[in-house]
Amino acid sequence: MTTQTKPRVAFFDFACCEGCQLEVLSLEEQLLDMVELVDIVTWREAMSEKSDDYDIAFCEGSITREADIERIKHIRETADILVSLGACATIGCHNALKNQFSMDEVLYIVYGDRAEWFDTIPARPISAVVPVDYQVNGCPASLPEFLTVFKHILMGKEYKPPNQPVCVECKLKDNLCVYDKGLLCLGPVTRCGCDAICTSYGHTCFGCRGLVDEPNLNAAQDVLAKYGLSVEEIVGKFRVYNNWPELSLEESQSDG
């Protein structure tokens, strides 16, 4: 591949902590292998050069202002391929916690009497505004999945995020289930792909990679209730990462 024909890659960030970009930077040596295959032309966190001419855009963060909508639409128009990078961009993450309040209230809590200087809209993943071609889940974005997506893009292949819960990877690693230690884990309803990193180190899964396609939230509710959690506490546990679209746990509870 000659230099001229290398795809041009850009990284962008919206509302987030920029931890996913940092995670990608931590690839270090593998970044050198990556730049054999692509030219990185814009990456504010990593370099000072920039360009508005790119083929592949990795976008981190949630959409949470009107101005974000315009900006992501421009990126969508410019790039052939748009990737949502990490939990904020893919499932809304903590940003979307604010969606349970009115936007006026949120503005007032954060900016007090300067609230009118700012605008805000309910936080949402990028796919809620423009079509997304690939997604990398996780908080921070899972590096093995980032590399898998990167390779799929260059090979022109579709990437389907794994539709299996974290329990699968957890079991394949022969971990002791944290339920056996009396801890609560969202692994049974959370999309895998992180190699069960949290439970492998004895923590619980918080659901940062989003829910599987058809989570059995009734089962989750029964199991968590067995541990003495109220519906609010159960919803609270899910809400740390999963707020978009609005969770329907409460309704299913009041129905039954």
Partner: protein, 350 residues
């Protein structure tokens, strides 16, 4: 087959000798969580726990790893493949009767048409298997499926007795493994100790199927149990844990992991589970077990009907791992007994 006795010190020395000679896998206690066990490669004899309760994953992981890279390839032309076969012989220690039965069942299934060469080659690397008798916990129900005395592929089988272990030497390989150790002849008292252990073990097993495996297969074949399946499915996450811990589950998926040069890569086989929604997804987006309850039913059918019909034994050894692993408390024995009771009620009503 001959019978002899091995004392504790001698057994420890034997394990040390084996560890010097081969990679040895056996049950170990989890450091972070005493009272929970797992099979792993041993560095010294004192890591091994003979009197353990059932491990999380079964010992099949010694010769059928959860994730197994099995060939390297390069592409596109000329495409080259190189099988990965760099493991040598090993020894497997401390296998309970139910897990011995499971290894025998996997051997049967993987040797059948079309035989799995990779699996059989890995089994051929198994230099020796030493089994050991066990105490049940509340999940064990081997007596319901007839595996409580299984010896299967064990070369040596140990039963705890007062002065050590009664050793059943079952194969010439087992005899060779013992070498000079265990020259003690078994006395009547040793035999009585072992018989007592076996009967006490059986007495302590509380979980049981409320019908024979023959009748259970008939009940499943008869059908009409959708209501029960649906009730279980309401509580089931479809998380796959019950399959992934099962010693008789043999399904796997195959994926290619390509390197960053985009030309070389590795082909990997990974354990799979029929409870996962995409397990039966085929080209065109058609899924022949779309509904959760259909997948729940399949797990029971596979173990107690299809393979029972094919091989004359249920492909469930009563180890209880699936019930221990289920975070939703779906218990294989309880559900089976619900099915049996439901079928009997329906029968009375017609």
């Amino acid at each position: 087959m001959s019978i002899c006795v091995i004392e504790h010190d001698e057994l420890c020395a034997l394990v040390e000798r084996l560890i010097r000679q081969w990679p040895v896998m056996g049950p170990r206690q989890r450091k972070q969580q005493p009272g929970f066990y797992y099979f792993d490669w041993l560095r010294s004899a004192d890591e091994l726990v003979w009197d353990y309760v059932t491990t999380t994953l079964p010992p099949k992981k010694a010769f059928f790893p959860p994730r197994e890279p099995f060939l390297e390839f390069s592409r596109p032309d000329p495409a080259k493949v190189r099988p990965i076969t760099d493991q040598g012989p090993f020894v497997l220690l401390g296998v309970h009767p139910c897990d011995l039965a499971a290894i025998e069942q996997l051997d049967i299934a993987y040797s059948d048409n079309a035989a799995d060469g990779r699996y059989l080659a890995n089994r051929a690397r198994t230099t020796a298997i030493i089994g050991v008798d066990c105490w049940p916990d509340e999940y064990c129900f081997c007596t319901s499926v007839g595996t409580e005395q299984a010896r299967g592929p064990a070369d040596l089988f140990l039963t705890p007795i007062g002065r050590g272990y009664l050793v059943e030497v079952r194969t010439p390989r087992g005899q060779k493994l013992l070498g000079d150790t265990a020259q003690l002849l078994a006395t009547d008292e040793d035999e009585a100790d072992a018989a007592y252990f076996r009967s006490e073990k059986q007495r302590r097993i509380t979980a049981q199927l409320e019908t024979t495996v023959e009748q259970f297969a008939d009940i499943l074949a008869e059908g009409g149990l959708t209501e029960v399946w649906q009730k279980v499915a309401d509580r089931c996450y479809s998380c796959g844990s019950c399959n992934l811990v099962c010693p008789t589950c043999f399904c796997f998926d195959i994926n290619d992991d390509i390197n960053l040069d985009l030309t070389t890569g590795t082909r990997i086989r990974t354990w799979d589970s029929c409870q996962l929604p995409d397990f039966a997804l085929v080209a065109g987006g058609y899924n022949f077990r779309r509904e959760r309850w259909e997948r729940v039913r399949h797990r029971w059918h596979r173990k107690f009907l299809y393979l029972y019909t094919q091989y004359g034994q249920p492909f469930c050894t009563g180890c209880g791992r699936c019930s221990r692993a289920c975070t939703a408390d779906i218990n294989l024995v309880e559900v089976s007994n619900d099915l049996i009771a439901y079928a009997q009620r329906e029968k009375r009503n017609v």
